[in-house]
């Protein structure tokens, strides 16, 4: 792992959404969407945030972008805290963190031409004006491998993969250091998915971009990430370098996720871990370990005491009580 100071540091980030109800619209509860998430991303590094739907991974991305205000915790960009800045001071820093969304259809304004979509951040940050804008947009179109004459067209004239390229060009426009890819390839066909993933990793090499790659698809993540953070119900349960995580997952949830990744070999023997039950509601998360309701290795302590994320190996952290009980860990099927 690199020892340079991280580009982005997220510290105990929390986002609780108030639940309103009743006659006067009073707060009747909280949705614990993100409940204490800590990680960092180095310059030029890719960190993947994986987990099933509703685990809060997109909320983490939006809180970093300040599209929503975090409830608690800190976000540091290049050694400066940004989560508590007023809008006026945050605005110039927005240039450095950009976003690519999942849906290539709703992420582009249907009534704007491609040129104006890509030029919007350029103009906002005063990075180009007049004739320069067209040149910059043309260069960006080249960067994302789109034909230049697409500039005059409207988004609906493009396919999903091409729209996603437009979205990437917009994110690149202001010269961002970090791009948050919120399920950026999930809505695409497999072949187009591969193209976009390859484009992203090429761009990372060319431009030294850091990526926060939010995804539920471990098979895709394995192809482009340096490190992986696994989220479950608003918390990170395991974070490790890619090789370590895929070769030696420590948290039972990570193991279950990995066992669900399809292997393109019909003869491969697989020990699939099938989780039973549903994800508990983030409105009233279970006490103790949040995963205990579905964990095949659950024991008494899991139901009362919350495991902390702690170092379990070289660059690997996991939040599981089993790590303190090496003997128990080895049991094949404790449940």
């Amino acid at each position: 792992m690199t020892r340079t100071p991280p580009l982005l540091e997220v510290n105990a980030l929390k986002k609780h959404f108030p639940l309103r109800g009743g006659l006067l619209g009073g707060v009747t509860g909280q949705v614990y969407a993100v409940d204490g998430v800590t990680f960092s991303i180095a310059k030029g590094e890719t960190l993947s945030l994986v987990g099933e739907s509703g685990c809060g991974k997109s909320t983490v991305g939006k809180a970093i972008l300040r599209l929503i205000d975090p409830t608690d915790g800190e976000v540091w960009l290049d050694g400066a805290r940004i989560d508590n800045l007023p809008a006026s001071q945050l605005r110039p820093l927005r240039r450095r963190i950009q976003v690519v969304f999942q849906d290539p259809f709703s992420s582009l304004n249907p009534r704007m031409r491609v040129r104006d979509i890509i030029a919007e951040p350029l103009r906002n940050f005063g990075l180009a004006d007049g004739g320069e804008v067209d040149d910059r947009v043309a260069t960006l179109m080249d960067t994302v491998r789109l034909p230049r004459d697409a500039m005059r067209r409207f988004p609906h004239e493009f396919s999903g993969g091409q729209r996603q390229r437009i979205g990437i060009a917009r994110a690149l426009a202001p010269g961002a250091d970090l791009i948050i890819c919120d399920e950026a390839v999930s809505a695409l066909d497999v072949s187009v998915k591969a193209q976009i993933v390859n484009l992203l990793s090429d761009l990372q090499d060319e431009l030294g971009l850091a990526l926060l790659f939010i995804s539920h698809d471990l098979a895709i993540v394995e192809h482009l990430t340096h490190r992986v953070a696994v989220m479950y119900l608003g918390k990170i349960v395991e974070i490790a370098e890619r090789r370590t995580l895929f070769a030696n997952p420590r948290h039972p949830y990570t193991r279950a996720l990995l066992s669900a990744v399809p292997v393109p070999d019909p003869t491969a023997r697989r020990d699939r871990i099938i989780l039973t039950g549903d994800v508990p509601s983030p409105i009233s998360p279970p006490p103790g370990c949040r995963f205990h309701t579905r964990c095949p290795y659950v024991f008494d302590r899991c139901r009362t005491e919350e495991p902390l994320l702690r170092e379990v190996g070289e660059g690997q952290k996991a939040a599981c009580h089993l790590d303190e009980l090496p003997a128990l860990r080895m049991l094949p099927q404790a449940a």
């Binding site: 939006k62 972008l65 599209l67 605005r91 110039p92 927005r94 240039r95 963190i97 950009q98 976003v99 969304f101 999942q102 849906d103 709703s106 992420s107 582009l108 304004n109 249907p110 009534r111 704007m112 919007e120 951040p121 906002n124 940050f125 080249d142 491998r145 789109l146 034909p147 004459d149 697409a150 067209r153 609906h156 004239e157 493009f158 396919s159 999903g160 993969g161 091409q162 979205g167 917009r170 426009a173 202001p174 072949s191 187009v192 591969a194 193209q195 390859n198 484009l199 090429d202």
Partner: protein, 311 residues
């Protein structure tokens, strides 16, 4: 995908999926097909065409009323009252001997002015209120409760009450009906704004540092225009009907100005013996409302994003 769509880059080969170089994309995009020919338009949007044509005819009648063989619509001729329709009096005369044909044609002016003015004013004011409501959180609940209050009163009763406070004039009729119609538009705009605010392209604009006024102007307003245009046509139609009702009960346009509601009100007493006095303005009112509604239905279908890809 539409026929004008670009072909996506070729599928990556299974052995080594790699970024497709720019050269693999077509260098020159296929030319945009010319469209907008009247015939193509008619075939694609028959309802818009029918409604628009009918409305254009009525608009022409209203504007060219003095040139269409009319006489002074207010000229009294007691000696020639309640004449049946004939070659001389196309739609007959009323109980004061006024030419119904002339009165109906001039009456179109009132209906159209009221309909269009109310549609425009209610849309503009409702849009501003809806935008404020959708963007200023603390103002939202106050504004929306006021709008709920206004909406709980039937629009016609509200218009009658407002007219009772003022003198009868076309301007006051427009004001009264506009006030009654504003809540519906602002509710609609607020709803659209709230859903647009959550759109990823708006979030991307925020992340790209676009300031709020520009976000509203560039990303929100253009995308509310389609539903507002459709709503405006329905408001136009209902404003014409409300105007006729107000005039019919004597709470609208002053009797000196011929309007379809007035003419019908005056012909009401003679309905059983001289039905044509009521019949002709009623037919014109129905046709005008039909034209506007057809236009609205057609626009709704044409502007519906789900239909956007239809070629």
């Amino acid at each position: 995908m539409s026929a004008t769509a670009l072909p996506d880059a070729p599928v990556a080969t299974a052995s080594a999926p790699h970024v497709t170089p720019a050269s693999a994309m077509p260098d020159v995009l296929p030319a945009v097909r010319p469209r907008g020919r009247i015939l193509t338009f008619m075939r694609r949007y028959p309802t818009i065409f029918a409604g628009g044509l009918l409305l254009a005819v009525i608009l022409f009648i209203a504007m060219a009323a003095p040139l269409l063989g009319t006489t002074d619509p207010t000229a009294l001729a007691p000696a020639k009252r309640t004449r049946e329709p004939s070659m001389l009096y196309w739609f007959g005369t009323d109980m004061l001997g006024r030419d119904v044909y002339s009165r109906v044609l001039y009456g179109a002016r009132v209906s159209l002015i009221v309909g269009f003015s109310v549609a425009l004013l209610a849309s503009v004011i409702g849009m501003v209120i809806g935008l404020v409501s959708g963007f200023v959180r603390w103002a939202d609940s106050v504004i929306m409760r006021v709008m709920d209050g206004l909406m709980s009163i039937p629009p016609i009763l509200l218009a009658i009450a407002l007219m009772a406070l003022t003198r009868g004039s076309v301007g006051n009729v427009v004001t009264a009906i506009t006030i009654a119609e504003i809540p519906r538009v602002s509710r609609l705009v607020r709803g659209v704004v709230l859903s647009l605010r959550e759109q990823p392209y708006v979030e991307a604009a925020v992340a790209s540092g676009t300031r709020v006024p520009l976000i509203i102007w560039r990303h929100i307003v253009p995308n509310t225009l389609a539903p507002i245009t459709v709503q405006a046509t329905y408001i136009c139609a209902s404003a014409m009907i409300t105007e006729a009702i107000l005039s019919f009960i004597g709470a609208g346009t002053p009797p000196i100005i011929p309007s379809w509601g007035n003419i019908m009100a005056e012909g009401r007493a003679l309905w059983q013996v001289k039905p044509y006095i009521v019949f002709f303005p009623a037919v014109f009112l129905s046709l005008t409302v039909l034209a506007v509604n057809l236009l609205g239905d057609g626009l709704r279908d044409a502007l519906d994003p789900r239909m956007a890809k239809r070629v």
